[in-house]
């Protein structure tokens, strides 16, 4: 019954991690070059929206695609224990994202009050910013726990 109602996400092969890294490394310079090209042809008049606004969609796209490829690709040695760690990383990632999104405006308002400024709703980077935070945390948390588990078990080898 669970299998009938739950969408089964198949992880990508391990090789896709490599593509994720390359997109992360080369994505931003390529997007910057595209924006420069658009500006030089007059399609974009003000490039500050790319360079100054971190939440610009163009900037986030290569980062999110790269991070998603890292998160949704299999490990070199993927088995049920690795999948268990991956599941835990996703659950804790969603949990901390909810907490962060709820607390960020409160924290920002407190800082604004202490500084004697007007309280305004802070910009948390929109949907893409939240997605980036989730993917970034999930990947780091998963890799850290996997490394720690494997290291502990390597030393215990019998």
């Amino acid at each position: 019954m669970i299998n009938e109602t739950t969408f089964q996400v198949q992880l990508l092969p391990y090789a896709y991690k490599k593509y994720g890294f390359w997109i992360l490394i080369l994505g931003l310079p390529i997007v910057a070059a595209i924006v420069y090209l658009f500006k030089s042809t007059g399609m974009i008049t003000d490039s500050r929206s790319f360079f100054d606004e971190w939440n610009d969609t163009l900037v986030y796209y290569p980062i999110i695609i790269g991070m998603a490829l890292l998160v949704f690709s299999k490990e070199k040695q993927e088995d049920e224990m690795v999948q268990n760690l991956r599941y835990k990383a996703f659950v804790s990632g969603v949990f901390f994202l909810v907490i962060a999104l709820l607390l960020l405006p409160v924290f920002s308002s407190m800082v604004a009050l202490l500084e004697g400024n007007r309280i305004e709703m802070p910009d948390v980077g929109g949907m893409l910013g939240a997605l980036f935070m989730l993917l970034f945390y999930t990947y780091l948390s998963f890799k850290y726990n996997l490394h720690r588990t494997r290291r502990a078990l390597e030393t215990d080898e019998e």
Binding site: Q77, D79, E80, M81, V82, N84, T149, R150, A152, L153, E154, D156, E157, E158
Partner: protein, 66 residues
């Protein structure tokens, strides 16, 4: 929960690596199960049970508080 995997593995004269290869998991996973740091899925427990020729209840023993 405790388990007798190490004992059963020794009876069959298998290394962790050999057992892992037979079951299609990593050696670290076998090590983690033997040390009660990871609880295997039902499928893996049944595969172990079939391989060692014992019941799952003989492989994995519930303790008080489980």
């Amino acid at each position: 929960m405790k388990n007798n995997i190490k004992v059963e593995r020794a009876k069959k004269d298998l290394t962790q690596e050999q057992l892992a290869e037979t079951l299609g998991v990593t050696r670290q996973t076998i090590n983690a199960i033997e040390k009660n740091k990871y609880l295997p899925s039902t499928l893996l427990a049944l595969k172990m049970s079939a391989l060692f020729g014992v019941t799952v209840n003989e492989l994995f023993i519930l303790e008080e508080g489980d």
